[in-house]
C-alpha cells in the first residue's frame, strides 16, 4: 500500500515536469506546428537510400558490429565517475587528516 501511495506521488511529480515542458513548448511556439521535421537519423538514412538504392527493410535492428558508440558512452561515463570518486576520496582523506591533527 505504501508503495502504491509513493508511486502515485512520483507519477504526480513527473506529470508536473511533463506539464511544464508542454507549456514551455506551446509558449515557444515550437510544438509540432502541423509539420513534422525529420530527425537527423532519418535525413541520413534518406541520403543513404538515395545513394545506394533501397536495400531491404529500414535500419531498425541492433548493429552489434558497431561498438564504437557503446565504447564512447562507457568511456564518458567511466571518466566522469572516476573524476567524482577521485575528488570524493581526496576530500575524505583531507577530512580524516584534519580530524586526527
Amino acid at each position: 500500500m505504501t508503495f502504491i501511495r509513493r508511486l502515485a506521488v512520483v507519477v504526480l511529480v513527473v506529470a508536473i515536469i511533463v506539464a511544464g515542458a508542454v507549456l514551455w513548448s506551446h509558449a515557444s511556439g515550437g510544438g509540432n506546428a502541423g509539420q513534422r521535421v525529420p530527425a537527423p537519423q532519418v535525413v541520413e538514412r534518406l541520403a543513404r537510400i538515395r545513394k545506394d538504392g533501397l536495400v531491404g527493410r529500414p535500419d531498425t535492428g541492433p548493429h552489434l558490429s558497431n561498438t564504437s558508440d557503446l565504447i564512447r558512452t562507457c568511456m564518458i561515463e567511466a571518466a566522469l565517475a572516476a573524476f567524482v570518486i577521485a575528488i570524493s576520496a581526496i576530500r575524505r582523506g583531507r577530512r580524516r587528516v584534519r580530524r586526527t591533527a
Binding site: 508503495f3 509513493r6 508511486l7 506521488v9 512520483v10 507519477v11 511529480v13 513527473v14 515536469i17 511533463v18 515542458a21 513548448s25 515557444s28 515550437g30 510544438g31 509540432n32 506546428a33 509539420q35 513534422r36 521535421v37 530527425a39 537519423q41 532519418v42 535500419d59 531498425t60 535492428g61 541492433p62 548493429h63 552489434l64 558497431n66 561498438t67 564504437s68 558508440d69 557503446l70 564512447r72 558512452t73 562507457c74 564518458i76 561515463e77 567511466a78 571518466a79 566522469l80 565517475a81 572516476a82 573524476f83 567524482v84 570518486i85 570524493s88
Partner: protein
Amino acid sequence: MHAGPATSPEQTPARDSGRRRILARTRFDFWLDALLLLAYTLAYSLGFTGIAVHEWLGVALGAVLLVHLTLHWDWVVRTTRKLLGRGGRDRLIWLVNLALLISMTLCILSGVLISEVALEQLGLRPPGGPFWNQMHGTTATITLILVPIHAALRWRWIAGVARQLVTTRRAR
C-alpha cells in the same frame, strides 16, 4: 542513558528476519540500479542499438525509473526536510538527483514525442517537431553527464554492497 532493551530469545528471530529483509532490499536496489545503468548506457548508444531498440529501451527505462524513484522516495522526503539544516554532501546529491529527474523526464518525454518506430508500431503518430528534437539532444547530453555523477556520489554504498555480495557468494 538509555541502554536499550535486553534481547530475549523470542526477539532474536524477529530481529534476524528484519535484518534479512533489509539485506534483500539492499540487494534488490543494487541489481535494479545496475540494470538501469546498463539499460541507460545501451539506450544512449544509438549507433549500437539501432533506432527501434533505442526507443523501446527508452520507454522501458521510463517505467523502471518510476519504480527506482518510488523505492527511494523516503530518502527524497527525508533529505528535502533536512536540507536547510544540513550542508555539503547531501545537498549536492539532492541537487544532482533533482537535475537528473528533470532532465531524464524531459529526455524520455521528448524521445516519445519524436519517436519514429516504437509509437508507429503501436499505431500512434507522435507530433515531433524541432522543439522536441532539440530538447531530446540537449537533455540526452545532460543526462550523460549526470548519470555517472549520480552513481559516483554513492560509490561507497556501491562498493560496500558489491563487497558484501562477493563475500556472501564465496561463503556459500
